[in-house]
């Protein structure tokens, strides 16, 4: 048991961050590490760093899908292409920032990920989002006031700024202490750092 912590910076819009999310609990169990979930806004990271999603280079699109299928098969994880992609994740990530640190965080993240990459819904549509949240036991009215809370908006912005200040340029990004790792395909190095 290492007693170490891995910080996991993620945005629901990144399917590779979803792959990482499915693998981290087993890594934490094997190493005795703690996962600190850090919801941030990937669009803000891209804007601050001058980076962009891979698929802005057209040839990266089909290859990226194939590459994710290969990892999903290796992990035995279901990853369904969301026809509504790309979805603006601002409100979804505010929700994650709102539930951060509470016992509702993981159920919320599971519910949103389910609507993003397992049973794809158009989560840009507030009606569809309300549906997904209701089915998972959340109150959509409570959710709406949460994501309008200035402290929640500020927390999401602060986490995004912190990630950029520490060197992040995309998602998922992991930190073990000061060591940064980018991409779900670096989880083996993350596990080494946690051991």
């Amino acid at each position: 048991m290492s007693g170490k912590t891995v910080e996991f910076f993620f945005d629901f819009g990144s399917p590779t961050a979803y792959l990482a999310y499915t693998q981290l609990p087993a890594i934490a169990a094997r190493t005795g590490a703690t996962i600190r979930y850090r919801p941030f806004l990937l669009g803000g990271v891209f804007k601050a760093t001058g980076n962009a999603a891979p698929w802005v280079v057209p040839a990266k699109g089909p290859y990226g899908l194939r590459d994710m299928e290969r990892f999903a098969a290796r992990y035995g994880v279901e990853l369904v292409r969301n026809p509504a992609f790309p979805i603006n994740t601002l409100l979804l990530m505010r929700g994650a920032a709102g539930y951060e640190g509470s016992d509702r965080f993981i159920p919320y993240v599971d519910a949103v990920y389910d609507g993003m990459w397992r049973h794809p819904r158009n989560l840009d549509d507030l009606g569809e989002l309300a549906d997904v949240l209701t089915m998972a036991g959340f109150d959509p009215t409570e959710f709406r006031s949460l994501i309008e809370d200035p402290a929640v908006k500020e927390r999401l912005k602060a986490t995004t700024d912190e990630a950029v200040a520490r060197g992040a340029f995309g998602a998922p990004t992991f930190f073990v202490g000061d060591e940064m790792f980018f991409g779900q395909d670096r989880l083996d190095f993350v596990e080494e750092a946690l051991t």
Copy 2:
């Protein structure tokens, strides 16, 4: 013994392609596969696909170096940062296209890689390049006529065009049949495909 072939598209300017070059012979030995070396011009691929080197996003620069150090340590490979980087590799790649298929190909590639990533030289400087080639037993005068040969120029261009037509957008790129793999960090998938 699989009897399969892995095509390895590389440019001397890519340090991750160099890492792949150091690992492929062992993968071929383990799987009984044949390596087909495909020198291409990464700059041409970038131009054709709208892609760019990772370090055009400033935050990717320091992280990319750290990431390569981690893989070099895992592989037990020496990878020294070349202070002259980025180097225009057009003439170097023409040389590789010129020796392609001959028994001088691997000694040439070894010599150039040595001057790029093991004992860094400014290979943009034709005098330094002549030095490196002479030390490796090549005749610089013969080399200069080789890289001016229209058939050699055309071969390099044709390989680059072929890679783009098959979906490549960067280096290193591998093909096992129709299956494309991008990045030295996908060598585990390449090995699976060869097995």
